[in-house]
Symmetry: C2
Subunit: 369 residues, 2 copies
Amino acid sequence: MPEVSSHVRSLKQSVYASLAEKMKALPEPPIGLHLGDTYAVPPAAARWEGLDLSSPGNYRYSHPSGLPVLLEELATKLVRENGLAATADWVQVTCGATHALHSAVHTLLQPDDGILILSPYWPLFGGMVRCLGAVEHEVTFEDLEMRPGVKALYFANPNNPDGRVYTREELERLASFACEHDLWVISDECYEHYLYDGNRHISIASLPGMSERTVSVYSFSKSYAMAGHRVGYLCAHPQVMLWLRRLTNHSIYNLSPSLQKAALAVLREGDAFVKEWSPQYASARNRMAEVVHAPKPQGGAYFFPRFENAERAWDFVERALQAGVAVAPGAAFGDAYANYVRICFTCVDEPTLEKACVILGRLGHNQGG
Amino acid sequence: MPEVSSHVRSLKQSVYASLAEKMKALPEPPIGLHLGDTYAVPPAAARWEGLDLSSPGNYRYSHPSGLPVLLEELATKLVRENGLAATADWVQVTCGATHALHSAVHTLLQPDDGILILSPYWPLFGGMVRCLGAVEHEVTFEDLEMRPGVKALYFANPNNPDGRVYTREELERLASFACEHDLWVISDECYEHYLYDGNRHISIASLPGMSERTVSVYSFSKSYAMAGHRVGYLCAHPQVMLWLRRLTNHSIYNLSPSLQKAALAVLREGDAFVKEWSPQYASARNRMAEVVHAPKPQGGAYFFPRFENAERAWDFVERALQAGVAVAPGAAFGDAYANYVRICFTCVDEPTLEKACVILGRLGHNQGG
């Protein structure tokens, strides 16, 4: 047998896959707080029973960029909610935000190019960089500094896993750094609607001079509880979008028009769903804050408690699993985070979360922290 | 603005995009025989109105490899129809065959690796190779020879655009070449059910010693007229599949479970749909053979007539368009094919095809051929 690409061999098994094996050995499935999802059922508009999908066009190829009517509607949303000067020419529909980020990385970087990743960060992103043969450099916002060969900066706002929501001043610092070093910015805004305590979401591309060097990534998965539909989208200047479009076309051809119609229907309904669910996520966060002694997240869907060392964190993952709650080991979120654990508070309903919180409280997880 | 990857800049505008601009200038839309699609409506099992999609699981993340029940069913099909010793461990569901091929290229090759592409060939494949920084070498089956740095061989069987169906002897020659030079083989079998005149489809991975070095690519788009659902799949030895899975996971996370359920329902119905449509495609092919003076394709969905030179072929594309029929310029299908034109006979219904054939007959397209 020949050898596969050495770049692909750098892809690690996902943290969920390694947990899945341990979970199989348990007498009954644990409460899964290791995942990043929401237990909400999507708005009626996104559900199959409510959609008119009688057109034969749903079964045929469609526009590689996305349905024109959806691109228009997304541009309107990007102007209104994100403060971007977007038109349909600025938008590309993707197979979830995962595919959007994959397209962005493969369009902006080439082998041996470096990228600064603000850590802690979403695990799959590092793999996307490595499987291209590009080089990831993990840095924190506080210790931001240039490295040789770096062409781009990636960050999530709100961040997964620590829920950080960047202030305008912080974004200005990032913007100024990107301009100074002529960097691309990949801005992952999947959690834009998961905000607490009055924190506001600001898109870095809306800052002066940033729209030309930023590729912004969005998703319907979190905002509208429809991860199963896999609808994400990219926003970028048309000169960059030209290449993002070609790359996206060469990786999936187009996204199913039926899924895009679900997204369109949801967008047209406005923000009622987001407004309905925000307080429920906030309430789940507040409940979990009583048992997890970590900073309350400003946004997103996770607590990210710190432990004295990596052994204590691993020990907590194991003990939680034995007690019936799955949480994600921090090592997945960056080299410097093996002494952390990520716990999702949006992925199970209120009674199940209550059970999980009782178990977590009993574990006294932060005794070493 | 920083620069995008030089690899991505090698992606050409698709032949369809350049035609689309010319088409916009026409007083009315032409009959589109430039595309590769079928006018058939998919079997009832694949249509939204017949599927039970009431489970909330349809709106959530699902298995990155594909629904386990679908993987099992696909393995059964691969054993029965393709003669492969496949189990669910050998299969990965993808976002159409485009995504399957993208995953295969990115898993097997790395920058500067070469790949032999049996030409003429499907245009997007070359772009997938270039955007990784790998090197495409176009060769014909008859002039097959090794080039420096080559790690893989790609071919489609039946072929798009020329409809070639490889015989067992021809596949044995390819297999022996691949073994001699220790090459990966990417076998694109999207048109496996489009066969005429008693031609049989044989999967190269079913030949002795080939299952370990072959990644086979399949699609529901052509066989079941459901291109809009974007369901494709990969078959490979589990040691290779391990990496194909990670790459696929890092590019789209997972395919929508709703779309996978449509594919599952279709598979469970058996081959009635394929048997119903085969004679209709054969009949369309026979009608077009009366006006297009090119070899009758053995399989696939296209005629690929040759002209005296590139100018004559372009002239034909232009004149056909003015007369109301869009066809695809041959230059898209390989460096040596600018004097060809591709014409699809499965993408419009019988009365429309009849109109198109009258127009093509009147053009006398092959006068220079």
